[in-house]
Symmetry: C2
Subunit: 336 residues, 2 copies
């Protein structure tokens, strides 16, 4: 499979971001893969700070930086014109450019020309690989975990990254499998499942997490929700392609409306779990619920622990808040 | 929405097809839309025959042909080199070219050049419109029927076209909504849902069959099956985007294995109906089963009628074989 295979270490570009909300992707990379981040580069009026050494392009190149990361979400996803000379400078200094922007670097003639001349790569991580196949549903070896959601943006990527990190800490053989652009930039590899031609959705996930050693875990980032009126097809293709042994249900406590869509309340856990297991059972008959990950940030500590205890008692699986409690309880259960 | 809006009438090209199996799309167009077909054009050694007048490009152009239809499935989906001069001649004679081939006419420089010079269009109906949006799930007016399947290739397009034709015969306001390349070439408009970026699957269907007069029926061609390990995501996006009042379950009698995929038997009707209604209920709460369409071609007349009676008694909805019995019983029920 063609993945992005970003070269390390990175120079993480923060532009003129005023805070880390505007630099969410950069923040994710620095948080989850600090060992890959050599330095940050900030423009004069930037206020965001990843607590990485500040370097210029020249300094970073001399220190060995191999990829310039555009880890920002500028308004509208477009690329400010004044950044183009910086990208050219970075390529001339020996770096690839990796971007999660909506606008494709490969559509900008000036950049493509310099990339050709210098032999550098323009990596648009929203563009899926060109070598995708349709799914075949054939059983494959290795263990797989998929995070599924009650909605978009409820912590599916965060939970998967946290479980992967906990497994690494315990020397469990595991790979994080990214399915969205932020996850891909964090991991440096993956398939942007929501950008794949619909016929290839399940197939692209089969390619993303192929057969593996029987003790190896693929920890797969979920997308959307089976009950999202726009994206459920993506979630189902992902569920079928993953052939997950275990799903982890992710939810943000207090979320009642789905993706701000009027008339689409967030469903109860019973329905979410039942439907994911029933449909997932098509390609993995013994699929099971391995835990629930709650984002309890809107609750205080006591409320959060009460909420966690309630679901743990109800579903008899580990229930965690990856930020507040960590995910050790889930991995404990998987190790049994 | 950008649809293909093929100009009529058509010159249907049969190449050197030995039989109508090789010219399935052409056959479908001539069968379902004879009023749009001016003539057929066959190369010297062709044996297929649509029972249309034979014309050369010049003769057809003089008789008013506006679109040259490449309604063939050449081995590998590629375009034989010796056909390119014919396509150029057709454009120079005033026709657009519409193609359902895997190879894109718009990727062939010689054709693109002539299209520009003559102002003709190269219509690759496998290429989805560029103006797609994500779904929003908002309820919309008008009535919609979607054919759903137990598998691929079980008669979903045929059933939808037959119901549409029956409605036209009865002067019921109705539009056939094509979602695959054959359907698009037959109707001259549509969206190739399986070629859409997965994030836009449901949204593309919302655009395909927008809000309409409350008595108008959109008859939507289904794709795949919710239990197909490769394509279920497409089927679910289609189901959600369609907001169908009525689904018609399509099945080929005798099919036991799904799409020749080992380990994936065709599911029982109970599961198929229940899952389609449950999941479809997300965007259309009062979705209902409006009938069952069986392809009974492998049975004799008596066996077929017994089979039909069995399911009709079991599910208390009209059960038909669109070829053997017609679909009047389904439309009768919809008119009640």
């Amino acid at each position: 499979m063609t993945t992005y295979a970003l070269k390390t270490p990175y120079l993480v570009f923060l532009g003129d971001a005023e805070d880390l909300l505007m630099a969410k992707v950069a923040k994710g990379i620095a948080y989850w893969r600090p060992e890959k981040c050599l330095a940050q580069m900030r423009l004069e009026n930037a206020k965001a700070d990843l607590n990485l050494p500040d370097m210029s392009i020249r300094e970073a190149a001399e220190a060995g930086a191999k990829t310039f990361i555009l880890g920002l979400a500028p308004t509208g996803g477009t690329l400010p014109q004044q950044w183009i000379p910086l990208l050219i400078e970075a390529m001339e200094a020996g770096m690839d450019i990796a971007s999660g922007l909506h606008v494709h670097l490969n559509d900008i003639d000036d950049l493509v020309m310099v990339a050709k001349r210098t032999g550098r790569r323009l990596l648009d991580v929203r563009t899926p690989p060109q070598t995708l196949k349709c799914g075949n549903g054939r059983p494959r070896s290795g263990k797989r975990l998929l995070t599924v959601g009650s909605d978009c943006c409820v912590g599916k990527m965060f939970t998967a990254l946290a479980i992967h990190k906990e497994m690494e800490k315990r020397n469990i053989s595991a790979t994080f499998r990214a399915t969205g652009q932020t996850g891909i930039l964090i991991e440096g590899a993956g398939v942007p499942v929501d950008a794949v031609i619909s016929d290839f959705t399940a197939g692209s996930v089969e390619q993303l997490c192929p057969a593996n050693d029987q003790h190896h875990w693929d920890i797969i980032e979920g997308q959307g929700s089976l009950f999202h009126p726009a994206y459920a097809g993506v979630s189902l293709g992902l569920l079928h392609g993953a052939q997950a042994d275990v799903i982890i249900l992710c939810h943000e406590v207090g979320r009642t409306q789905m993706d701000d869509l009027e008339g689409y309340p967030v469903l109860d856990f019973d329905s979410l779990i039942k439907t994911n297991l029933e449909l997932g059972g098509l390609t993995k008959p013994n699929i099971r619920l391995g835990g629930i990950a709650l984002n309890t940030s809107m609750l205080n500590e006591q409320q959060a622990l009460t909420e966690i205890a309630y679901y743990q008692n109800k579903y008899k699986v580990p229930v965690v808040d990856p930020v507040r409690t960590g995910v050790a309880a889930i991995v404990d259960e998987l190790e049994k």
